[in-house]
């Protein structure tokens, strides 16, 4: 299985040139954007059961 979008994926990538020396592929930019987004969401999103004091339903954290 080569992936439903493999025709779309297996062509030369698009690069964003911020300056003459700073360039990044769209795919890498998306991955870095996802990291930043996950971090921000993790900061702000309300965590279920975070008001429990002793023995409420478990949340999932490590």
């Amino acid at each position: 299985m080569s992936g439903w979008l493999s025709d779309f994926m297996n062509v030369p990538a698009t690069y964003i040139h911020f300056t003459s020396w700073l360039q990044i592929s769209v795919a890498n930019l998306i991955v870095i954007g996802v990291m930043v987004a996950l971090f921000i969401i993790a900061m702000f999103a309300p965590f279920p059961g975070s008001h429990s004091t002793d023995s409420q339903t478990s949340g999932d954290q490590s």
């Binding site: 996802v34 996950l38 993790a42 965590f47 059961g49 429990s52 954290q61 490590s62």
Partner: protein, 212 residues
């Protein structure tokens, strides 16, 4: 029998020392807790376990790839799918690990004698980079040809190339499959045991006099 009993109170045996130290530092209710401090309530806490989960997925797809051999996925559609599982497992692994690292940095999670936990985390990050790098080298495609050609210069420049040879696929394959996953796994186990032993770091400014 009497010497055995004596060892339990005042151990001189290595085995008894290890067992007693383990029981003292990491009793089973610390190892498998069913409660956590009330402050452990944020989505940032899930990225460590997500990283480990991705590592597990990588191990499984990697095992399938190693049984089928490194060139299987060039010609088999099932092979290409398993290669994709391995590839995306690695991408997610690094995404989760980086977010975990950011989170721990901004929590200053090394506080309260947790420096070793931080160090083992950094070691895991470095071992992961090495594991990923050797994986890229054994793709047996254009990418690995180019990476081998380019990367050799960096290692050669500082003498590492004398014993670690990116162009030697036999060596790199053994290191990628037999050595580095074990190293990374061992560091990860150590890291997690330290977290369980020391507990999750309290919030910055959580006051000794209050909130406790």
């Amino acid at each position: 029998m009497s010497s055995h009993l004596k060892n339990e109170t005042e151990p001189t045996m290595w085995t008894a020392k290890l067992r007693n130290s383990w029981q003292r530092n990491l009793p089973i209710d610390k190892l498998l807790p069913d409660t956590q401090p009330a402050y452990v309530a944020s989505w940032i806490y899930i990225f460590g376990v997500l990283t480990i989960a991705a590592f597990g997925d990588i191990i499984v797809s990697g095992l399938i790839l190693s049984f089928a051999g490194p060139a299987w996925y060039h010609t088999s559609s099932v092979g290409l799918f398993v290669n994709s599982l391995h590839f995306w497992g690695v991408q997610l692994f690094f995404v989760f690990m980086v977010v975990h690292l950011w989170g721990k940095f901004w929590m200053a999670a090394w506080r309260g004698r947790r420096f070793r936990t931080w160090l083992t985390g950094i070691a895991a990050f470095l071992a992961s980079i090495g594991t990923a790098f050797t994986g890229y080298l054994i793709q047996t495609n254009f990418d690995s040809q180019w990476i081998a050609y380019e990367a050799k210069d960096g290692f050669n420049a500082v003498g590492i190339g004398a014993f670690f040879t990116p162009t030697n696929i036999g060596q790199i394959m053994l290191i990628h499959v037999a050595l580095l996953p074990l190293v990374l796994g061992a560091i990860t186990v150590w890291h997690v045991l330290l977290v369980r032993k020391n507990g999750v770091v309290p919030p910055i400014d959580a006051a000794p006099e209050g909130g406790n």
